[in-house]
């Protein structure tokens, strides 16, 4: 068995090797000759593509296994063994990681291909692709890790890569600050993860710390300790997946190149939190309170982010808030114990969000890095492929049947209502309407109406083929991905739910046909309402609005950034300054300089003896010998 699962370890290895190769190749050649950027681009696509094929193999091998033993592991080597803790660098393939692998590698590959076009004018091409490969490799470690610790390696890896890539255009100070913000906010979340992991180890870690052992031993924990572990882990998830209160980094992360945004939002990074909660579903189902907290945080994040999204004027920020909002849905899904619905939304979201970001990237690319939607307009005629594919993405995001987002969002809302969480469902429907509104606000403003900047419009053209082909492929995905989990109502088999059943502790709601119909009807109504409002306001062209009152408040994101700055950052800086100026010189430096002074005093006292004259040393010698002889003679007597 061991040799046949070897390729599992190769999946994260390919992109990592790609990163190393590109980096070394660039370092070795950059001084001597100019390597055409296409070489790096193609080199970068090889790793993800290989991983994708191996992911396919994993998927088919899993499918061949019987339902109750649908997993296999590969232990690369023993990482360390200390006391009770024996840790392997192990990888686990089960239905959950198998599904994640498939679309992470697939979308990751497409984004790499797209980047060849998008980054074509960039100076540090090699650096970009090396980081991208590293990013994907880290995510694959995260997905495949067979223990929380290996998962944490990938977890930190994506955090690092996001930092590197967000501050990629490092000439601009704001971008660097955005990168710092992402990294620091993520660190806060990571602390939660580490504490949760430590607590989990303390509770049941001595019986094996890989997921399978943990799952088998979870019953040995008390309810309160499970709750603590769940909440600590969820703190980690809020950091990585941008939930309240740690969502602030994600909109700022738009500072990076657009393919990076697409990679962060669709395939890697932000979905990690949802994945982690689903991975630990065996703990979350034990304590209802933990799930409830997750669900409420999720749905409130969805609401707040949707409000912000309605008033943004940067095309990427609109999409960023839509991601935060959709992530909120996913957490609401996993919170109401509909894990497969949450993961299903991760799956469909990956397609349409990657599509929307890459589409937005194409628009930004042809407009020479213009991101303000109020300077666009009427691009429909100039960029038909981008328009139509983005329209599909927008319909999927807004939850229009039969596009992908509709089914997954509907599944979450239905699970919430059927499990008896009326208010979560209600907010969810409200957010659905808002989602439709802000998505189509963006589409109408960017693509419809009259061009607002005539000069930019005249220069606009369709993006090159290397960018549009991934768009088309993703559009097909956004169109059809939803059918994989078609609810029984439409004659579907809920393939993804059944597929995930061995991995996640789903609690299937027992709702009636009527309830399901009701949920779908309200969702469609919410979508139609949002679309209608957006069309009325922006369908025929609109001028940039001046925000007043609540809108102004929302445009400035409720001043949350300023609040955090005032409540956390500034006091923290003040404390730091106080420590460096008051505490450090007096408390830590004083003993050290004291010791130095002592030695200096003693030295000045003793240095009199060192006259430098040979004869004086001779006296010392004779004196010493005399004393020694005297002692010797005394002891002999």
């Amino acid at each position: 068995m061991e040799h046949s699962t070897f390729y599992l370890g190769m999946i994260p290895l390919y992109p990592l090797l790609g990163a190393v190769c590109i980096g070394l190749f660039h370092v070795l050649t950059c001084k001597r000759w100019q390597v055409p950027p296409l070489v790096y681009g193609l080199l970068a696509c090889v790793g993800p593509a290989m991983s994708f094929f191996l992911a396919l193999r994993v998927f088919f091998e899993l499918r061949a296994l019987p339902l109750d033993a649908r997993f296999f592991t590969y232990k690369a080597f023993t990482w360390f063994s200390v006391g009770d803790l024996h840790l392997d660098m192990g990888f686990l393939a089960d239905p959950l990681s198998g599904l994640m692998l498939l679309f992470v590698t697939f979308i990751g590959t497409l984004i790499h291909v797209y980047s060849i076009g998008y980054m074509s004018g960039d100076k540090s091409y090699a650096k970009f692709f090396a980081y991208m490969n590293l990013f994907l490799g880290s995510m694959l470690i995260l997905v495949l890790g067979d223990s929380p610790v290996v998962m944490f390696v990938g977890w930190e890896g994506v955090g690092l890569c996001s930092y590197l890539l967000i501050s990629y255009y490092s000439e601009d100070r704001d971008n660097v600050l955005a990168g710092n913000k992402a990294f620091i906010v993520n660190r806060i979340g990571d602390l939660g993860f580490v504490l949760g992991m430590g607590f989990l180890f303390w509770a049941i870690g001595s019986h094996g710390f890989d997921f399978l052992s943990l799952k088998a031993n979870a019953h040995m924990m008390t309810e309160s300790s499970i709750l603590i572990v769940c909440l600590l882990l969820f703190v980690g998830a809020t950091g990585k997946s941008a939930q309240i209160p740690l969502y602030v980094w994600l909109p700022d992360a738009m500072a990076g190149p657009t393919p990076v945004s697409a990679l962060i939002h669709a395939a890697t990074m932000v979905t990690a939190g949802v994945y982690m909660v689903a991975r630990f579903s065996f703990l979350y189902v034990e304590v209802a309170a933990a799930g409830m907290i997750v669900a409420w945080i999720g749905i409130l994040t969805a609401l707040v982010a949707a409000i912000f999204g309605m008033f943004q004027d940067d095309i990427k920020k609109v999409l960023a808030y839509s991601t935060v909002s959709q992530l909120g849905y996913m957490f609401a899904g996993v919170g109401v114990t509909a894990y497969s619905a949450g993961i299903f939304h991760v799956f469909t979201h990956a397609f349409f969000k990657a599509l929307l970001f890459l589409g937005a990237g194409a628009v930004i690319y042809v407009l020479h890095h213009e991101q303000n939607i109020w300077k666009m307009g009427g691009l429909k005629k100039k960029m038909p492929i981008t328009y139509w594919t983005m329209l599909i993405g927008a319909l999927a995001l807004a939850g229009c049947p039969p596009f992908a987002g509709f089914f997954s969002k509907d599944e979450i809302l239905y699970s919430a209502l059927a499990n008896g969480h009326f208010f979560i469902w209600l907010i969810g429907v409200l957010v659905a309407a808002m989602t439709a509104y802000y998505t189509f606000r963006m589409i109408f403003v960017v693509f419809h109406g009259q061009p607002r900047d005539q000069q930019a419009y005249d220069h606009a053209h369709e993006a090159p083929l290397v960018m549009t082909v991934p768009l088309i492929i993703l559009a097909i995905g956004a169109l059809f991905a939803g059918f994989y989990n078609l609810p029984a109502m439409f004659g579907g088999e809920q393939m993804i739910s059944h597929w995930l059943a061995p991995s996640v502790a789903d609690q299937h709601p027992h709702g009636s046909f009527l309830l399901e119909f009701f949920v779908i009807a309200t969702s469609v109504a919410a979508f139609a309402f949002g679309l209608w409002v957006a069309y009325k306001r922006f369908g025929k062209g609109a001028e940039e609005p001046v925000f007043t009152g609540f809108a102004r408040f929302a445009y400035h994101k409720f001043y949350v950034d300023e609040l955090y700055d005032a409540v956390f950052v500034r006091p923290y800086k003040a404390i730091g300054a106080e420590i460096s100026e008051g505490v450090e010189p007096n408390m830590t430096d004083a003993p050290v300089t004291g010791v130095v002074r002592l030695y200096m005093r003693v030295g000045t006292l003793v240095k009199v003896l060192q006259s430098g004259y040979v004869r004086v040393y001779a006296i010392y010698m004779v004196l010493g010998l005399g004393i020694m002889s005297f002692i010797l003679s005394q002891s002999l007597n």
């Binding site: 004259y613 004869r615 001779a618």
Partner: protein, 98 residues
């Protein structure tokens, strides 16, 4: 009888020590060192006489050889030092002063 020899040896040795301490001329210091070596030679010979064996003589001969070698080396050093400074005063060389 041995007592007299030893007293003489101690007197010679102390003279050598005082010479090393008190005099600043290279040659005087050097001669004082030789004096100390010969004081110890005298003590060795006296003890050899007392013990009626040759051990002391062997050591005395050895010390003479060492003294000869030392004389050759030390005179060379003195010449070099004199070349550097033009002086024969030991107080000139006090680089180790603290």
């Amino acid at each position: 009888m041995i007592h007299d020899y030893l007293v003489l040896s101690v007197i010679l040795f102390c003279l050598g020590v005082v010479g090393v301490f008190a005099r600043r001329n290279f040659f005087t210091v050097f001669m004082s060192v030789e004096l100390m070596l010969n004081a110890s030679n005298l003590a060795f010979i006296a003890f050899a006489r007392l013990q009626q064996n040759m051990d002391g003589h062997v050591l005395a001969l050895l010390i003479m050889a060492v003294a000869a070698a030392e004389a050759a080396l030390a005179l060379a050093v003195v010449i070099l030092l004199h070349k550097q400074t033009g002086k024969l005063d030991t107080n000139v060389f006090s680089l180790l002063k603290g």
